[in-house]
């Protein structure tokens, strides 16, 4: 029996792997668009509390994929450790990069992936964001020698939530799902509260 992931991007399978890449991208782009992620207002609503779609879609997606990984891994279909090895932790560059990316997100109205969807839907602000991401990533390459001492700050290797919390992977999925449901209930409440406040404000003379 083949254990996934197979070596889809090397040797004789490379061409097939690249074609599969396009197919995966089409599915990814279509789902993002239909979830509303090709529209800046829908995305940034997250940061003003008026539309929590980003939180709902993202947490549901993570919990779904995580559950699938654990099930497939315990069925022996997938090597979870091999997949996790692709995502090592460098804590401080990730915290700093995350904060800067979040700030850029609310400025641009998109994250890098959703800006591709917006640009492809004809949104010029999406295309401007795509261009900005190109420029910023090139600027990073120029600054990289100066940043080198910082890039390995908080290097923890393949450090998973299971290891950090001392819990089996299945328990981590249950925990993430539980936190997600709590966050969804809170998000629905905040949306209702803010939209009723907005309705009252706009109804006032």
């Amino acid at each position: 029996m083949t254990t996934f992931p197979f070596e889809s991007l090397s040797g004789e399978h490379r061409d097939i792997g690249l074609a599969v890449g396009v197919a995966i991208g089409i599915a990814f782009g279509f789902v993002l668009e239909r979830s509303g992620f090709g529209r800046a207002q829908k995305l940034v609503g997250q940061f003003y509390g008026t539309d929590m779609t980003v939180l709902k879609v993202m947490f549901t997606a993570i919990a779904t994929a995580m559950l699938g990984l654990v099930v497939l891994s315990s069925a022996g279909v997938l090597d979870l450790g091999a997949v996790q090895a692709f995502y090592p932790t460098y804590l401080w560059p990730m915290v700093a990069g995350g904060a800067a990316l979040g700030a850029g997100f609310v400025m641009a109205g998109y994250c890098p992936g959703t800006s591709i969807v917006a640009a492809a839907s004809g949104k010029l602000d999406g295309a401007a964001t795509v261009l900005g991401v190109v420029v910023g990533s090139l600027a990073y390459a120029e600054a990289e020698p100066l940043l080198r001492p910082f890039l390995r700050a908080g290097e923890l290797g393949t450090y998973t939530l299971s290891r950090m919390l001392g819990l089996p992977a299945g328990a981590v999925v249950a925990l993430v799902a539980g936190v997600a449901v709590g966050a969804f209930l809170a998000a629905e409440r905040i949306e209702r509260w803010l939209s009723s406040t907005a309705a009252r404000t706009s109804a006032a003379p």
Binding site: L9, A19, L69, P93, A99, G113, A119, G122, S137
Partner: protein, 171 residues
């Protein structure tokens, strides 16, 4: 079927669909989704056309151009697919059309400047963090990487911290 541009998928069902796309990617490709490194590769390709010796002498650029063409990577094809899928979704839902999305009091020029600026900040940040919301938060988050979760929480923190300063472009 009537097209309604203001109608979106239920976010929880959209999330399940996105999760299944991500799961299929992890199973078949052995790694997750991504986006920003395709922009980077396109940038290296452009710089190499103008100043090939600069690419060769800058290690953070040359590594994507050494053995193969900078665009010869699965992530570039995946992002090409994202553009096709995004366009299909927009066309079939009546959301396709040339416009600058912004609040009623914001000028189009200012909005585009903020979009380029925000994009540049994200491009820099995504290289620093080894991935963006797709490659790090979503994919790394699903494989339980602690760094990816720290990244994701920082994205939300950075977004909330900046939101007040740019609120005028949305209203």
């Amino acid at each position: 079927m009537r097209r309604d541009p203001d109608r979106f998928w239920n976010p929880y069902l959209g999330g399940v669909a996105l999760g299944l796309v991500l799961l299929a990617t992890l199973v078949v490709m052995g790694k997750g989704l991504g986006a920003s490194s395709a922009n980077f590769r396109a940038g290296v390709w452009a710089v190499r056309a103008i100043a090939p010796e600069h690419v060769a002498s800058t290690p953070a650029l040359s590594w994507v151009a050494r053995d193969r063409h900078p665009l010869d990577d699965w992530i570039v094809l995946e992002v090409l697919g994202v553009a096709i899928g995004g366009a299909l979704g927009a066309i079939t839902s009546g959301r396709f059309g040339r416009e600058v999305l912004r609040g009623p009091t914001m000028g189009a020029g200012g909005r585009l400047v903020l979009a380029v600026g925000g994009g540049a900040l994200m491009g820099f940040a995504a290289r620093l963090a080894r991935g963006c919301t797709s490659g790090q938060a979503l994919s790394g988050g699903a494989v339980m990487s602690v760094g990816a979760w720290a990244f994701m929480l920082s994205v939300f923190a950075g977004g909330y911290a900046m939101a007040w300063f740019v609120r005028r472009q949305w209203r």
